[in-house]
């Protein structure tokens, strides 16, 4: 049976993982390759590495990191952060990444999704959507796509945008609710469920995981295919083997490695 996936996300700057409630106050959660290898050994189903600096100078450091990760771990991993061209994707895939995640560049230039899917195949193109519920000028609350780490609203409504990126050739959606991100109060279940039920591609839910039950909820009520989290794994508030055992005990299909 196809399993639900548990995905730790490693935010990376200068080859090291960082994760803070906001990006101003960075906390160091260790070496990015070693931490990824640890998660893989613990039974993580995939990894996501995000280059949060994503500067021109930092790019070659990041590609070197991708190469070292690919050499070390034997599970799939996705890389993202500052990807805006076919050349960027080519370099990352060539370094050994299995998938790439694009976000702001897809909003700026939606045709990029089509171009990347055609060039590299949909299976390796993840479109990340950062969403926030905002009150419009008409006084109604709507889910709106944001860029720049969730700070900058766009004109795009989240639910139709999710459908559009699929139609353009995305192979997977990484949905991050900026309303729940960092709260540890649980994933955005209703929105995740709506988008997943609408989509014919897998949906990775992100933002808000604080305990094991939150993962159960996002896989059942939220209809997510995968659950992503960062700091709760980095600071060992939840251990991946415990989490997978818990979910399996609750009758969810899990890949148990021990």
């Amino acid at each position: 049976m196809l399993t639900k996936r548990i995905i730790p996300c490693l935010d990376v700057k200068d080859g090291r993982t960082v994760k803070g409630v906001n990006f101003v106050n960075l906390r160091d959660a260790g070496d990015a390759v070693e931490l990824g290898a640890l998660y893989a050994a613990q039974g993580a189903d995939e990894l996501v590495y995000l280059d949060i600096a994503a500067t021109v100078e930092g790019r070659s450091t990041f590609i070197d990191l991708v190469r070292r990760v690919a050499h070390t771990i034997n599970i799939p991993f996705t890389v993202g952060g500052g990807i805006s061209s076919i050349a960027d994707v080519s370099a990352l895939l060539h370094a050994g990444a299995d998938k790439v995640s694009i976000n702001s560049s897809a909003v700026r230039n939606p045709d990029l999704i089509n171009e990347l899917a055609l060039e590299f195949g949909s299976q390796c193109i993840v479109v990340a959507i950062d969403t926030r519920c905002v009150e419009t000028s008409a006084g109604v609350f709507e889910h709106i796509v944001h860029t720049h780490g969730g700070r900058k609203p766009t004109e795009l409504r989240t639910i139709p945008w999710a459908k559009e990126v699929e139609e353009r050739g995305a192979g997977e959606l990484l949905l991050t609710s900026m309303d729940t991100d960092g709260t540890k109060n649980g994933f955005a279940l209703e929105l995740t469920s709506t988008i997943s039920a609408n989509a014919n591609i897998p949906v990775i839910a992100s933002g808000g995981a604080g305990n094991m039950e939150h993962f159960y909820d996002v896989f059942t009520e939220g209809k997510a295919d995968a659950g992503l989290a960062a700091s709760i794994f980095h600071f060992r508030e939840i251990d991946i083997p415990d989490l997978k055992q818990y979910l399996q005990n609750k009758a969810l299909p899990m890949r148990m490695t021990k």
Binding site: L2, I75, G96, D98, C124, G171, N200, I201, P202, D225
Partner: protein, 195 residues
């Protein structure tokens, strides 16, 4: 021992090379006929679309070379599909090593296609699966699959049972990505490369 990874216009084969590095096996990445024919083991990886890939193989003559190989050959993912007779992906005539047609997963309400993620394989009958626990999990990404047939040596179930692995004479094939299937995938590669 000489291992060759067949070079063609497949997508990302870097992870296959890294997997061999981890196992500690040297390899040559080449489309040269003499090199391929003199190898002890041949890996035919695959990420891509069937018709474009077959077209490229024909241009290079690889569509004739691969079926005529006598040493152990392992095809993975699209590599496996191209070793079958025909693929519904853009109605592509393939190499016909395995006498079976690759079909698209039928549209089924509430079930997503591609089949992407970790799924368990069962009913092992292959030398390559020796030493695996029952119901081992491996990583799949595909929208087309070969049905269960006389060459099936491992099955997987998604919508309906399909061939996770095929075997005929010196030809082995896996629909999943051994190179990123954790310790299970690594064991299968080791069984192929080191036996």
């Amino acid at each position: 021992m000489k291992t060759v990874i067949i070079k063609y216009n497949a997508g990302n084969v870097q992870s296959v090379m890294y997997a061999l590095d981890r196992i500690g096996v040297d390899y040559l990445y080449t489309d040269d006929e003499a090199e391929i024919r003199s190898a002890d083991k041949v890996i035919f990886p695959g990420v891509g679309e069937a018709s474009t890939t077959m077209h490229y193989l024909r241009e290079k003559g690889l569509d004739k070379i691969i079926p005529s190989l006598k040493q152990p050959v392992l095809g993975t993912c699209v590599g496996m599909q191209l070793m079958c007779r025909f693929s519904e992906e853009n109605n592509t005539t393939c190499m016909g090593i395995f006498d079976v047609d690759v079909k698209r997963f039928p549209a089924t309400p509430g079930i997503k296609v591609p089949h992407m993620g970790w799924n368990n394989i069962t009913n092992y009958k292959s030398d390559l699966t020796k030493g695996l626990i029952d119901n081992a999990y491996v990583y799949f990404v595909h929208s087309y699959a070969a049905p269960v047939c006389e060459y099936t040596v491992a099955t997987c179930d998604y919508i309906s049972p399909f061939s996770a692995m095929l075997h005929k004479d010196n030809f082995h094939a896996a629909q999943f990505h051994c190179e990123i299937s954790g310790d299970v995938g690594q064991k299968i590669l080791e069984n192929f490369l080191k036996r």
